[in-house]
């Protein structure tokens, strides 16, 4: 996930990471991780605070003004919840495709690459 602002809106943070910032904490699916005071204010997320709590690495680009935030690692596993993330993908003909548009059906998501 790339950010050009370490105080993004809660909506932008949720869209990029799948973690919604709520009064209960940072939530994904049924899982909520309590957050310390100051983690968010006025609909904006303090990425440094939330990232530390969730075990997300924050790596700055040398050029400045750009950061990459890694996925959560606090659980020690790649998945911290079974709730599937809502990927926004692109079809071969360039159309947007949301994984959640298939909600209600069983799906096998196959990862392959031609390299």
């Amino acid at each position: 996930m790339l950010l050009d602002d370490l105080m993004p809106t809660t909506a932008a943070f949720a869209a990029a990471t799948g973690w919604k910032i709520e009064s209960r904490g940072a939530c994904k699916g049924d899982l909520c991780v309590p957050l310390p005071d100051g983690a968010y204010r006025e609909e904006r997320v303090d990425v440094a605070v939330v990232a530390e709590r969730l075990g997300m690495a924050v790596v700055p680009a040398e050029s400045g003004g750009l950061w990459a935030v890694g996925p959560e690692s606090f659980s020690g596993r790649a998945l911290s919840t079974v709730a599937a993330p809502d990927l926004e993908l692109q079809t071969f003909d360039g159309q947007p495709f949301s994984l959640s548009s298939l909600r209600g059906t069983r799906m096998v998501l196959v990862a392959w690459a031609p390299y």
Binding site: G55, A57, S73, A78, T81, V82, L109
Partner: protein, 196 residues
């Protein structure tokens, strides 16, 4: 475009698949997935290549273990028929436990990989390179990070995706390559051992 399924699901090699049920819950995490049972009696023509590297790559490829290939298709069909009653559906705790390890280094590797892709798309390979190298160092078990970077260099042509390493007379920008890695780690570890 950018890789997303590593950070989202823990996909570290291909082919991999994730099963997601009607409730949008993962019922099998990322694991090697196969379109058909293992082929028998098929000999790769690359084994006879007059280029030593390609022949060596083909030799290693024959040793890669396709753990569940013979039963994978049947498992998918069973789930399609039986849904939650399929015995291939895993309990939530098993889904999480099988989803692969991720620590702070793994998260940092994903962040570096995201920056590398960003700069590479922007035509700034010089800026992408240190981030690719950092991702490789922090998550050496992640073949996605390595194969993506390696495939951006090397010989042009239809065999480029297999080469993934140095060419005679040219400097190689990375600390390892496909053949060197698989020879040192063992082809049997190329896919994480799995069971259905």
């Amino acid at each position: 475009m950018a890789h997303q399924v590593d950070a989202a699901f823990g996909v570290v090699n291909i082919p991999n698949a994730v099963w997601i049920d009607e409730n949008f819950d993962i019922v099998r995490p990322a694991e090697p997935a196969w379109p058909a049972p293992r082929a028998t009696g098929v000999r790769s023509p690359l084994l006879d290549s007059d280029q030593a590297r390609l022949a060596a790559i083909a030799g290693q490829a024959t040793k890669i273990v396709s753990w569940t290939a013979d039963e994978y298709g049947d498992a998918v069909r069973d789930w399609a028929r039986n849904g939650a009653a399929s015995h291939y559906v895993l309990p939530a705790d098993d889904v999480l436990a099988r989803s692969g390890r991720r620590d702070g280094n793994g998260s940092a590797a994903a962040a570096h990989f995201a920056l590398a892709q960003h700069f590479e798309r922007d035509g700034r390979h010089d800026r992408a390179l240190p981030h690719f190298r950092a991702a490789h160092r922090l998550a050496p078990e992640n073949w996605t990070y390595k194969r993506q970077a390696w495939s951006l260099t090397g010989p042009e042509g239809p065999l480029k995706r297999f080469w993934q390493g140095p060419q005679d007379g040219q400097e190689w920008e990375y600390d390892s390559d496909w053949l060197a890695d698989i020879e040192s780690s063992g082809a049997e570890t190329y896919y994480r051992p799995t069971q259905l």
